[in-house]
Assembly symmetry: C2
Homo-oligomer: 464 residues x 2
C-alpha cells in the first residue's frame, strides 16, 4: 500500500451511493410524517460557542464535546508556562471558543431563546442533522451520527404525547416494521413509586438504577440501589412493583391504590389516562391501526435526563439493535439560558439503529436505490452522436439516463459498467441501428434484446 | 437583555423553517437534475484527518482550516515551554489531528483513493454538504456554507463537459432564471495565449491576473502583470486578445490563426470544437432549448486552481451576487494521495448565491414553503375529542394538519396562531357543529366560512 494512502478519522463513515439511497429512504419517510403532523424544518450550524454547550451534558458529556481550535495565533494571550500551569482542561477553554454540537436539543434551545420574540408558540420543529461526540468508537457507536428530532415547545397539552405515539407508529408502519414496542412511562409515576416505597430522597439513584435493568438484571440493580443507600425495606417494596405484570388498564388500577398518598404519582396517572383517552378518540378514525404497540413499562426510566413527564422508548423485536427512538416531556427547555418555564415534549429517531434494524429485517424496498435506469452505448463516432438527442429526450421524460462516455471497440467495457452499476437497460446503437433509425434495447437482467424505433424509445420505457 | 443570552458563532447561520423550505426547493431541483444525468449521492464526514487537508489549498487556505482539538489530555506529550518554543502554528499540528472539511473535492479524492478497488469507473458522484472556512465573515461570506458538487472521474470524454453545460441550463431553467451566462474557457487556450505572446514562463501569473479583470479592470491587470515581470511586448500583444469580440465561431477562427505554432492552444481549440459539436447533436432533440446561454470568454481563468482543461463559471444577470456556479476539468484528482492519472471534470453550485439571486429576482414559487395546511380548533373538551379521528384521517389523506393543542375559551389565540403560521384553513368544532356531525371551515385568507359534513372533510380539501 502506498505510504500516502489517506485515512478517515476513527468513528466516522463515508456514505456510499448505496447507503445514501437507503438512508434517504428512511429520512424521507420520517420527514413526510413529521410534516403532516405540522412540524417545520430547522437547521442550526455545526459549530456552537463553547459556553452554549458546556454544563449541559454533565461532566462526562463535557469531556466528549469536540472543541475547535481558535483561528490565528491562539497562544498569544497564554503565559509561557501554560502547558504546566494550566493543564489541558483549562487551556482548552482558552484556545477553543467554539465546539461541534453534541446533540440537537441544546442548539434548539439556543435558537428558541434567540428568536423567542418572533416565534409563534407552540413552536413545532424537526431537525435532522449530524452530531459529534468523542466517544470511544465501537460497533454501532460513531463519533459522527445523525439525530432526527421533533419537539413541540410552549404547550403542556398531552395531545403532543398522544401524537408522538401515532407518529412513531406511522413511521415504523411505513417502513414495514411490524413487531415493535412503544414503551411509555412517566417521571411522576417513578416519583410516586419512590414516594410509595419511602425513598423519595433517592429518586435520582432509583431512576439511574432502573435504567440498567435491561443490561444487568433485577438482582444487580437492587444491589446497586442498596450500595447507594436505599434501605432494605424500600428495596423489598420496590421489587414487586417493578415485577408487576398486567396490561395498561391493570397497571393503572394497581398504581391508583399504590399512589393513594402520592400527589406526584397521581399526576402521572392522570396524564397517562388522558393520553390513553385521546388515543381512544383517535381510534374512531377510519383505517386506524388495530394496535399501537404501546407497552406501559414501569421499568422505563431514561436515566439522568431532564425529562419531567411522560417518557418514551421504542424497541424493535427480533433485532440486535437497542432502542431506535426515545424522548419525553421536559418543563424547562431554555432555563439554562435564562428563559424559564418553557415546557415541551420531543422525541428522536436513531437513524443508524433504524438502518441496521431494517437491514437485519430485510425491509429495504427495491426502490431504495439511486441508480441510472438506462445506459446508452454508441459503437462508433457517428452512432455516439446519433444517441445524443435521444439521451436528452429520455432525461426530459424523467429517466435517469447515461451515455457511456467513450466509444469502445469492444462491448465488454460498457456492458460491465452497466452490470456493476446495476443499470437495468442498455440501449445500443451501431451503424445498423442508425441506418434504420432504431436502437437495440437490452434487458440486462433477462438478457432479452429487441429493436425499438428511435422515436418510440420514451414510450417503450414508460411502460417498463 | 439577560446576561445568559446565548449567541451563535460569527459567520454561521440558523436556517428558519421559511428559509429551509426555500433552500430545500433549490436543493431538490439540483438533486433531481444530477440524478437524471446519472450522478450518485455521496456523503463524507465533517471531520477529516488534518494531513488529508493540509497542503491542498495553498498557504492561505491552510490558515483557514478549522482544526479540532484532540480529545483528552492533548498537552501530555508537549514540552513545558511549548507556548514559547513552538508557537501556534507548530503546536496546532501537535494538538489537533483532525479538522473540518474545507471543500468537497479533497474528501472526494480521499474517498476515491480509499475505494478505488471497488468503484466502477467512470464514477459520477454528487455531494451536497456544508464546508467550513475561517474567513473573516462579511455580507454573503459565511464560515459554514453548503457546496453542491458533481464530478465525473475516470474518463477524459468531453461528453462530460457538454453535459455540464446542459445540467446548468436545466437547473436554472427549472428555477425560472432566464438571463444568465455559462462562461466557458479552456486552460490550454490560456496556455496557448501565453505561448502566443511569448510569456509561457508567466502562465500562472497571467491566469491569476486575468482572473481579476472583473474586479479591477484591464489597465490594473496589465499593470499587475508588468509588476510580476511580464514583458511590455507580451502585454501589448495580450491586450487585443482579451479585448477580442465575436461569437463562439468567430473566436475559434481568430484563435486558430493565433495558435498556429502552439500545440497546447490547438488542443484547447480542438476540445472546444468537440464540445460544441456534441451540443449541436444534442440540439436535434425535441424541445431542446433554443439558447444554452454559452459565452466563450477568453478572460475566464479561475485563478490558481488545479484545472487543466475546460473551465466554467455561471453569472446571473441583473443581480448583485457573483458567479453562482463554477468548475472545470482536472487531470489529476488523486495525485496528492499517491494515485496519479485519474482525470475528471466537475462543477458546483453556490447555494447561498443562488438563493440570493432567486430572492432578488423574486423567483421562489408559493409552493416553496413548508406550512401546515389545516388547523383544527376544538372549543370545549368534547369537541376537542370530536376532532381527533378527523385529524387522523386528514393526515392520512396527505394534508399537513394540526389540532390547536389546548381548548381556549377565546378564538383569538388559535386564530392568531393560524395567521402567524400562514395556515390557509381553520376547521372549527363547538357543540353546535358536533351535534349535527359537521365542522365550520374557515378560509383564513378570504374570511369566508362554511359548514362541511364531518365525513366529507377529506373530499372538501382535496378540491381546494
Amino acid at each position: 500500500m502506498n505510504k500516502n494512502q489517506p485515512t478517515r478519522p476513527d468513528g466516522t463513515r463515508d456514505f456510499s451511493p448505496e447507503v445514501m439511497a437507503k438512508r434517504n429512504y428512511i429520512l424521507q419517510t420520517i420527514r413526510a410524517v413529521y410534516q403532516r403532523y405540522g412540524f417545520l424544518p430547522l437547521e442550526t450550524p455545526a459549530m456552537e460557542n463553547l459556553d452554549v454547550l458546556t454544563g449541559k451534558y454533565g461532566d462526562e458529556g463535557d469531556q466528549l464535546i469536540f472543541k475547535i481550535l481558535n483561528s490565528g495565533d491562539f497562544l498569544k494571550d497564554l503565559p509561557a508556562d501554560a502547558v504546566t500551569s494550566m493543564g489541558s482542561k483549562k487551556m482548552a477553554s482558552k484556545i477553543a471558543g467554539k465546539a461541534l454540537r453534541y446533540d440537537l436539543t441544546v442548539p434548539f434551545a439556543r435558537y428558541v431563546v434567540m428568536n423567542r420574540g418572533t416565534l409563534t408558540f407552540p413552536f413545532k420543529r424537526y431537525q435532522i442533522q449530524p452530531v459529534w461526540r468523542g466517544d470511544r468508537p465501537q460497533k454501532g457507536r460513531y463519533r459522527e451520527f445523525y439525530q432526527c428530532d421533533a419537539d413541540v415547545v410552549g404547550t403542556d397539552s398531552l395531545l403532543c404525547e398522544a401524537e408522538i405515539i401515532l407518529m412513531i407508529n406511522e413511521v415504523l408502519g411505513k417502513l414495514g416494521v411490524q413487531n415493535f414496542q412503544v414503551k411509555i412511562n412517566h417521571r411522576q409515576i417513578l416519583n410516586g413509586i419512590a414516594e410509595a416505597i419511602g425513598a423519595m430522597d433517592k429518586f435520582s439513584d432509583i431512576c439511574v438504577g432502573i435504567d440498567k435493568l435491561d443490561k444487568i438484571g433485577l438482582d444487580k440493580v437492587m444491589q446497586e440501589l442498596a450500595d447507594r443507600g436505599v434501605s432494605g425495606e424500600s428495596i423489598a417494596q420496590l421489587k414487586p412493583i417493578l415485577a408487576f405484570e398486567g396490561n395498561l388498564q391493570e397497571k393503572l388500577t394497581y398504581l391508583t391504590t399504590l399512589f393513594e398518598n402520592s400527589p406526584n404519582g397521581q399526576k402521572g396517572l392522570a396524564d397517562m389516562r388522558a393520553i390513553t383517552q385521546m388515543l381512544n378518540s383517535f381510534a374512531q378514525a377510519k383505517d386506524f391501526p388495530t394496535d399501537l404497540h404501546i407497552d406501559f413499562d414501569l421499568t422505563l426510566a431514561r436515566g439522568l435526563s431532564y425529562y419531567t413527564g411522560a417518557i418514551f422508548e421504542v424497541k424493535v423485536e427480533g433485532v440486535q439493535v437497542g432502542s431506535i427512538s426515545g424522548g419525553g416531556r421536559y418543563d424547562d427547555l431554555t432555563g439554562a439560558f435564562g428563559v424559564p418555564d418553557l415546557p415541551g415534549v420531543g422525541f428522536s429517531f436513531g437513524i443508524d439503529r433504524l438502518y441496521d434494524a431494517l437491514e437485519e429485517l430485510n425491509l429495504f424496498p427495491a426502490e431504495a436505490t439511486v441508480a441510472t435506469q438506462i445506459l446508452m452505448i454508441g459503437f462508433d463516432e457517428a452512432s455516439f452522436a446519433y444517441c445524443l438527442p435521444y439521451l436528452y429526450e429520455l432525461r426530459q421524460a424523467g429517466f435517469a439516463t447515461e451515455l457511456y462516455p467513450t466509444v469502445e471497440k469492444k462491448i465488454k467495457k460498457p456492458m460491465s459498467y452497466a452490470n456493476n452499476r446495476g443499470i437495468p437497460f442498455a440501449v445500443l446503437a451501431g451503424s445498423d441501428e442508425m441506418q434504420v433509425g432504431e436502437f437495440s434495447v437490452k434487458n440486462m437482467l433477462s438478457g432479452e434484446q429487441q429493436r425499438v424505433k428511435a422515436g418510440e424509445l420514451k414510450t417503450f420505457f414508460a411502460t417498463k
